[in-house]
Point group: C2
Chain length 210, copies 2
DNA sequence: TTCACAGCGTTATATTTTTCACAATTTAAA
DNA sequence: TTTAAATTGTGAAAAATATAACGCTGTGAA
């Protein structure tokens, strides 16, 4: 398979979200590239290019058949079976993410959480069994978890990441305000909210266009 | 001023975070481009290019003087005076963001929050006065708020965005899983966690490299 | 003092990503 | 049946972004 870029994958996932709404909520059966584009912040050419990448073909007359396209995207993006995700750091943010995420994705689910606070371990938090961080490695290995979310303070984020990677995790979504150092082959997405909000504020005042 | 790209701004903000740590925690006075690069996930050429953009000059012998560079970045990025930010949607996520953010940024502060739940309005939540969403427009106008965070369910995100924009907001950080439609000149950053986690999971299993 | 070196600033080159543009296709109306 | 209109798929062009390359400068060792 040809390598496919970060941005493209993100757009394709967004198309799916839009398609699901068109299908389930609005009962549509077909959609044109420009409609998909305007509902997902892309251009119509971009949509056509992206769908070309996953090999789905529409018709000039009716556009894309929604159900079929959803299936194609699913085959392309989704794991073969349900996949468990771990979350480390059960603070406000961690808990918010668990509540917000679980139930929203068909194949992915946060199944295991870790913390250092004794009050928060060996319990069930929003349906997830919680463990002490010292047990991180064996638990992650045993559950064959490949994707993890880090919501710990910045001081411990790197060491948590190291342990996750040693335990076999290949993808990390990091909310700590620090740039993680990881080996090749490990995918990290940084979502530091402070940086983001500073950026938005910058462009709010330097809004020449976009 | 020349337009400067989204990515560049984000990197520059990240450099600042690294520089602050080097200064305050490690007591360093100078830093080389390759050090800044490895601590912020960029390349050294990128660092030099970015700093060129803001017009700060280092020396081949000692690299960049940290304090001076911090000042330059601040002049470039920061607003002239303290700036208030609004947050709409006081659920778990909203509250987590308020707690997480406030106190972390020198010039920005979430000062006003909105919700529709009567239990959550006309109170002080984590130091922020809360209002009913129906009062959004007058309050935003009165406080001259230009940047807002949306953490409401996807069904109401667009109408909230419309009102924010009518009230003069120019930058929106959107956590609702929907692509907002906004006029030209309004900057929107989408941070849907579901999309992000799906992407990370995808690259966790298709980890050819990065 | 002279030399070698390391790192800056900047221009040039390469790569990636987006947009443009248009032939081919399908429908619906004339 | 022919024509007109709209949209797809995709090569080609353009724009944006990242990397490489290199002269220049200051430092420290010989």
């Amino acid at each position: 398979m040809n390598k496919i870029s970060d941005k493209k994958i993100e757009r394709i996932i967004t198309y799916r979200r839009v398609l699901l709404r068109l299908d389930k909520q609005l009962g549509k059966t077909h959609v044109f590239s420009h409609q998909l584009a305007s509902s997902s912040g892309a251009s119509s050419a971009q949509v056509r290019r992206d769908l070309m990448e996953i090999g789905y073909t529409g018709s000039p007359a009716h556009g894309y058949e929604i159900r079929g396209l959803l299936d194609s995207i699913g085959e392309f993006i989704d794991p073969d079976q349900k996949e468990g995700i771990a979350l480390v750091g059960v603070g406000n943010l961690g808990r918010a993410i668990i509540d917000y995420f679980n139930g929203q994705s068909s194949k992915l689910e946060i199944v295991t959480v870790f913390d250092v606070n004794p009050d928060k371990i060996e319990r069930v938090i929003s349906g997830c069994r919680s463990y002490h961080v010292k047990d991180l490695k064996p638990v992650i290995i045993e559950k064959k978890i490949k994707t993890a979310v880090i919501t710990v303070p910045s001081g411990s984020a790197q060491s948590v990441a190291d342990e996750l990677i040693e335990a076999g995790v290949k993808g990390i979504l990091n909310y700590a305000p620090i740039t993680l150092t990881v080996p090749h082959g490990i995918y990290v997405e940084n979502r530091d909210m402070i940086t983001t909000l500073e950026k938005v504020s910058y462009f709010a005042k330097n809004n020449t266009n976009k």
